[in-house]
Assembly symmetry: C2
């Protein structure tokens, strides 16, 4: 039996509750996959601030480096909002992404048939949506210098910097094309090329990368009009690729398609997945639900664990090459939803409400 070392970083708010279900799922899948998961855990975000006075310790980064994958819950909460940006819970997450070189953030949005009516959008608009946002994660405004807030004699002023190099753009766009090749073969590259220099470069490089993938169609879209199309014609999209902040905004927007932010998983990778699935090489990844720490419902056992569970499925797929097991987990989630079982965020007439742990158990039973 091959050992898989997973570092658990539950973080804040509902993080621990949903991560418990992801962990239990992986453990349950051990026998079938021939894998033995060994878990270690550590604090990050607000929890780490409270315990150690910093949102991310060196030891934690090192522990992540020693692991095959990291499963993260969520970070942040109003409790730590008074802190300056650099020492807030979010800085822990950003530091981890940067330190580990996780430049590729994959955020799939797939609408489960049972939830086609759960979204604020009309069912005929969202049914069948299956798109993938590929977000650049270690560049742009999140990390550019200068980045400062100056309290000077003439008043306060602040600046953030949006830099991109051709190499940073090429590697993420290339990864998007590789993924599109295995999907419906369309890439939408999102930018604001009519205003931003970084976007002009982005568009140039995307066009160059596209020439290496003649079987994949490239379409350029301006971020403003894409924000509109994403909710008006979401089935237009297969793979979308964009810079860090655009990806932050548009992937959250796309979450409404799925009916609840609680549904969505993500993977942050430092390279392209091997083109042959099942290859023995493991690709390190950080897996986390897209949702936040939801302090208002934390500790009540009612959070939706699907985002965390589907993140575990992504771990099986991208780090371990276990496509069959990943698909089985996704099918199990669909099954539970088809049976009318829902957590509170998705509750509606004719459905049966359950808590976080019970939902997790029902998925494991079917996976």
């Amino acid at each position: 039996m091959s050992e898989v070392r997973v570092l658990l970083l539950p973080g804040d708010g509902i993080g621990p509750e949903v991560l418990a279900e992801a962990r239990a799922l992986l453990e349950a899948l051990g026998p079938a996959t021939g894998l033995r998961f060994s878990f270690s855990d550590d604090l990050i975000g607000g929890a780490a601030i409270d315990a150690y006075g910093t949102p991310l310790r060196e030891e934690t980064i090192e522990a992540a480096r020693q692991s095959d994958a990291v499963l993260l819950g969520a970070v942040g909460g109003p409790k730590w909002d008074y802190l300056p940006k650099a020492t807030r819970p979010e800085a822990g997450l950003l530091g981890l992404r940067k330190e580990l070189g996780l430049f590729a953030n994959l955020r799939p949005v797939k609408v489960f048939d049972a939830l086609a009516d759960a979204s604020p959008l009309k069912p005929e608009i969202v049914r069948g949506v299956d798109l993938l946002v590929v977000r650049e994660l270690t560049g742009g405004l999140y990390f550019g210098q200068p980045s400062e807030l100056v309290r000077g004699p003439e008043g306060r002023r602040a600046v953030d910097t949006l830099p991109y190099t051709e190499a940073e753009i090429a590697r993420i766009v290339d990864l998007a094309f590789r993924l599109a090749r295995e999907r419906r073969r369309k890439v939408t590259s999102v930018d604001k090329a009519n205003v931003l220099n970084t976007s002009q470069l982005w568009r140039e490089v995307a066009t160059e990368v596209a020439s290496r993938y003649p079987e994949v169609t490239l379409e350029h879209a301006l971020v403003d009009s894409c924000a509109m199309r994403l909710v008006s014609r979401p089935r237009d999209f297969d793979v979308l690729v964009m810079e860090n902040l655009f990806g932050d905004i548009l992937s959250d927007e796309a979450a409404v398609l799925a009916g609840s932010l609680g549904m969505l998983p993500s993977a942050s990778l430092h390279g392209a997945p091997p083109s042959r699935p099942g290859s023995p090489a493991r690709l390190f990844g950080l897996y986390e639900p897209v949702h936040g720490s939801a302090p208002d419902i934390a500790g009540r056992g009612i959070a939706n664990p699907i985002g965390a569970i589907l993140s575990a499925a992504m771990l099986l797929r991208w780090t371990l090459g276990q496509e069959a097991a990943a698909t089985a987990v996704e099918a199990a989630v669909a099954d539970v939803l088809d049976a009318g079982i829902r957590t509170a965020d998705l509750a509606g007439s004719g459905t049966q409400p359950v808590g976080t742990a019970e939902f997790g158990r029902l998925v494991r039973e079917r996976a």
Copy 2:
């Protein structure tokens, strides 16, 4: 009779077609309002590039300065996409905004009852939506320096800069509060304060401004989660205020609520409207529909003129203080829609399709 000088800048694509209806409407309203509109016109954007080799001439800026208001159609199109950013049609619009100091962009999104079912969102989500996006228009990434694309020996790199001063933030947030005071008394200030320094400053200043308006509620929202709420719970919002690029993205997204981008008007102002409507002082403004030049349907007489017509209504309201006339125009548009009359973008079963000019005529008849 008091004279009102309006500079018409039809621009590209469907710009001229929709602007013709806005002009005709203002002319028709002359007698009732005691105003005599005198129009001049000029080229901007691609049309100006073709005629003069530049998207915005000095003469045009000067003509705008000599006017009480500018009515603009739309700029841009694939024909000019090969040009570098600085000489493209869009640069004409950005130059005009900057030269005229139009820092406040008002983008109201009001869902007409007759169109509650025209949006991709469920009618129960959009019915009754009445929000106002107040977008900062002359700062941030659109104008920050350095802004460059360098083709160096080590490859290409680009940078854009996002700067804000306390004064820039205070004046736009203050304007948002003034407007909210006359509405439902709620301001949502949108930022990314957990990552950006400019957003931290934005949040600080917004909080300070709010203390001068105890009767108005201030709520802070992160741009990512706001992008989600905007489509999932749009009735939560009254006035939203945000920096330039966030405003670009979120106002286009909000357009889906209205059923068609063709519906939406905008006003770009260089100061707060006088608090007493009907005051004789005129506030200079640039009025334009939010939609683009739509080259694919240009010249066919089928474009939706509502965005342009409602922009003329905003001109009546904000530059001329003619609240009654503005409301009459909005009511006339609602009437025509209630009668089941639609342009092609909104056509559906049980509705009667008409062209741009006919729609404009029907609105004038009722205004």
